[in-house]
Symmetry: C2
Subunit: 194 residues, 2 copies
């Protein structure tokens, strides 16, 4: 699974065959098919691997107030991308977004699976955005649920553009912070952007 | 080129071979290689085809003021996506974003080419955002160039999530408008969101 995760991230799902995954993991093809009926079955396990890493990272975000904790989610996502960047010599994109772009139309079931993971990420953003609302830090007119949805889209686009522009993962946390700041009350926004 | 554009959008670059493109276009393989040395050379022509369609659509955006013209750019992008949706029975994603996600790491030259097209889109957003600044419609603290960059990322993420969620293209213009509204002065924002 780890070998497949690496190969899918640094190349693409379709470019990498089962033979190559087995060679990289040093397992025989018979063993592969004992655990996974197909490459598509394997990619679901790879998605779970990445998702669990993401939920753990987001669960451990700390902060003195709701705004700091929301901004900390962007930093946690950046930290994961920085890890990929170090290991693979450059940004490789979001594991979910890459597969969604490449495979949504070819494997509708996989698209649903990816949609549920990305939906869970949005739900977590929404919880954090509602906490910001409870502390009264949003500008009037900002709906926490809608803001969470925008933030989710913004994160996907930011990582994709950083990848194609061969930028550093360091742009991700900064972009996230400036997007959050845009929704905050002016007096809070000034504090958060210092 | 049109056959390839359709096949790449509805499936993926890697899933579709030269044989299949030739069959769909009803041309012989010899003719294909007379015009294009490889599938990668063809995809550049396909990118140009999509880019020219996008620039034409954006050039024809009209509006009474800079805010309306900026919001109109989102509607123009939605109209292109609606066209794909009708022809292909569902959202197929951004032609540039799809290829960027799938191929950036495999073909670095193609990544640069896609980065330049997406950079031109950002440049056009920046021109429109500076016009909004000239009319004094942004909230204090909004930098037109940074906002254009955020908007570009937001559009990519919005289209990608709409595709994986099997949403309608109609979400794109609405999301674009709400993102722009977030940057506007409160009195202007109210007018634009009616």
């Amino acid at each position: 699974m780890r070998a497949a995760a690496r190969l899918f991230l640094t190349r693409s799902f379709q470019e990498v065959g089962v033979d190559e995954i087995c060679a990289a993991a040093d397992v025989r093809k018979g063993s592969f098919y004992y655990y996974f009926p197909s490459k598509v079955a394997l990619v679901r396990a790879v998605i779970d691997l990445h998702a669990n890493m993401l939920w753990r990272a987001l669960d451990s975000v700390e902060g003195d107030n709701a705004v700091d904790r929301l901004v900390g989610m962007g930093d946690a996502i950046q930290a994961i991308q920085s890890g990929f960047e170090e290991r693979h010599g450059g940004l490789v994109g979001c594991p979910f977004g890459n597969l969604a772009a490449e495979l949504s139309r070819i494997y509708p079931d996989l698209a649903s699976y990816l949609a549920s993971v990305l939906g869970e990420l949005e739900r977590r953003f929404a919880v954090a955005c509602r906490a910001v609302a409870d502390e009264g830090a949003w500008r009037p007119g900002i709906d926490p649920g809608e803001f969470a949805q925008s933030l989710n889209a913004f994160v996907q686009g930011t990582i994709l553009l950083a990848k194609v522009n061969r930028a550093s993962a360091a742009v991700i946390g900064r972009a996230f912070r400036s997007m959050v700041t845009m929704g905050l009350r002016d007096d809070i926004a000034l504090r958060a952007s210092v």
